[in-house]
Subunit: 355 residues, 2 copies
């Protein structure tokens, strides 16, 4: 079988050793003689998986013993778009619009109250991160998106605000060091840096809850899930387990600090080729470039077929850009080996030689 | 490794051949050289999984070409408790209360309107199914629970009602033949007969939607998921895939008809031992006994330690009753081999010999 270089935007590559363990647990979990798919979520073995996953997510972000609770919920970031507003929006919320997902989050929040868009980069099809905006101090919370998978932009600074700060980190959680305690709530669909599709990490400071007057159905209420340690109802057992395996792998490799170093190296390698090679141009503004998703186009569209043939022949996968941007997108999540980026750069150079 | 007999109430046993295929797909899916956990949900390979899963669920229930849509959503039956009401309850809904899960469904519906409890078996701790109740014809829909996992009761008849009929079939879907076209909506958490935890099958007749005046956030709106063929956002890829493998297995084995025959045999074997062996007594009323979950108690509680030792020594797993009932619960879902029931019956007879 030919080696694959998986640049998929998500669900995406996870560490090979995680796949090995994850496959084995389907046949026999913890030497129990049972598959992880057939054990009760109330069994000691799984309760311990859930507890370790919650604790390790906080540890990796440096948020232990700081008043945060970690939850593993279902429904993806899309469910969080409405749950954040359901739980936090009494009158007015402030949102930063940096792309498709931020736009969707704004749409759902509007079901629950007024939304102030503090700034938007829609004027340039979201190829930059707005700066110098003002966040109204009378809003219930401020919501932003740390990394924009589709457009390849990433927030580098998070200014302190006097109101609760909520961040969708679906596509760059665990990818870089930061003082995460400036956030009051962080959420992330698992299927980029954390695990397979099917579970969503929600990290929340309990003191921002209980301030809206509406009644909240049990499953949509963060308090329900906090009280029951993410086990109010049957959780997504296997997705949580594989997320735990992936977080253990990060922890073994040196945590978020080590991930960041590797991610910076991979991103530097690819962006320097994009900037050097005259056949390519980057899509996002340089200062806002994402270390997770590099978006770029050919300067001469007539080379498209030749380039596509070259990278496909090399075993590269998932390089097509999102339809909103076109061109190419190389997603370089934590688990992507640097060698994959080297391979892509070589293909870009081969195109240059043949062009 | 000792052979295990897994009577877990859910998540529960799935066919051994499903575990084999499910484990292999983690290492290499469809000979793609990629894990099913790392491929895009928009890839042709997964789009085809989702399509086949939706179609096969309808085929197994005899609901093809009858105006039904099948969806694979996240959040379990607990999320459906609120979504049914969010989408269908304008003024008043009618609910049959047959146990813990029905009670929870009623609680969530009350967030959205008036709930009429047409009947309840709470007076006898839910050990029977109420009959001869009247369903108000001016209710928006009638909701019932086909099988009560905790109490071991199962509805055998579903009277036709003039209003939309909604049924939570989480713990007995695909277990018996029936004219499923009498239901307007069926939902089921996967983790009993259909697959692993993490996805929920929702089968719905489109014409019952769009009749409430409230606005519905996108993720909670069935119309959103119908329009996008369950791919509005990233679905629970692996849980859907393993559900498909399990449905294919049912289909190969002869479909729901074959499952029913086997389930009836397994249930008859165990219940006849419960009735014959004077050390045991059944919990549920005989006419309402579930073929999926047999609940029973020791007639002499002082034998508890001896019985527990015996079945554990035999490799039996998951036999403890739910705390609301006590005693024992043997869950005999589709994938439980008849030999497991024989083994349990032998242990019950061994206790009798030694008592």
């Amino acid at each position: 079988m030919m080696k694959k270089y998986n640049f998929s935007a998500g669900p995406c590559i996870l560490p090979q050793e995680v796949f090995q363990e994850a496959s084995q647990a389907i046949l026999d979990f913890n030497n129990s003689g049972l598959s992880i798919l057939e054990i009760s979520h109330r069994s000691a073995d799984f309760v311990s998986v859930m507890e370790e996953a919650r604790n390790l997510s906080l540890k990796l972000l440096g948020l232990e013993n700081k008043g945060y609770k970690a939850l593993f919920l279902q429904g993806g970031a899309s469910m969080q778009f409405l749950m954040t507003a359901y739980n936090l929006l009494e009158k007015k919320a402030a949102y930063l619009n940096t792309g498709t997902w931020a736009t969707k989050a704004i749409k759902e929040a509007k079901f629950f109250g007024e939304v102030v868009e503090v700034a938007s980069s829609k004027d340039k099809n979201f190829n930059y991160i707005p700066k110098n905006y003002k966040v109204p101090t009378d809003a219930d919370y401020f919501h932003c998106t740390s990394n924009n998978t589709i457009f390849g932009t990433q927030m580098k600074e998070f200014s302190s605000v006097a109101i609760p700060l909520v961040c969708d980190m679906s596509s760059d959680i665990f990818s870089r060091e930061m003082d995460f305690s400036k956030f009051d709530m962080i959420y992330a669909g698992a299927q980029k840096n954390m695990g397979p599709a099917g579970t969503t990490l929600v990290i929340i400071k309990e003191d921002i809850l209980g301030k809206v007057s509406r009644e909240i159905p049990s499953m949509l209420n963060y308090k329900t899930h906090i009280e029951k340690d993410s086990m109010f109802n049957t959780p997504a057992v296997y997705a949580v387990y594989v997320s735990l395996l992936t977080m253990r792998w990060m922890d073994r490799k040196g945590g978020v600090k080590a991930m960041e170093e590797l991610n910076n190296k991979k991103a530097a390698l690819l962006y320097s080729e994009i900037d050097r090679n005259e056949l390519f141009k980057g899509y996002a503004e340089k200062e806002d470039r994402s270390t997770m998703n590099a978006t770029f186009n050919l300067t001469d569209e007539s080379l498209k077929d030749r380039f596509d043939e070259l990278w496909k022949a090399e075993g590269i996968n998932g390089l097509n850009g999102h339809r909103s941007v076109g061109g190419y997108r190389a997603s370089m999540y934590n688990a992507l080996p640097p060698h994959s980026v080297t391979t892509l750069v070589e293909v870009m150079q081969e195109l240059e030689r043949k062009a």
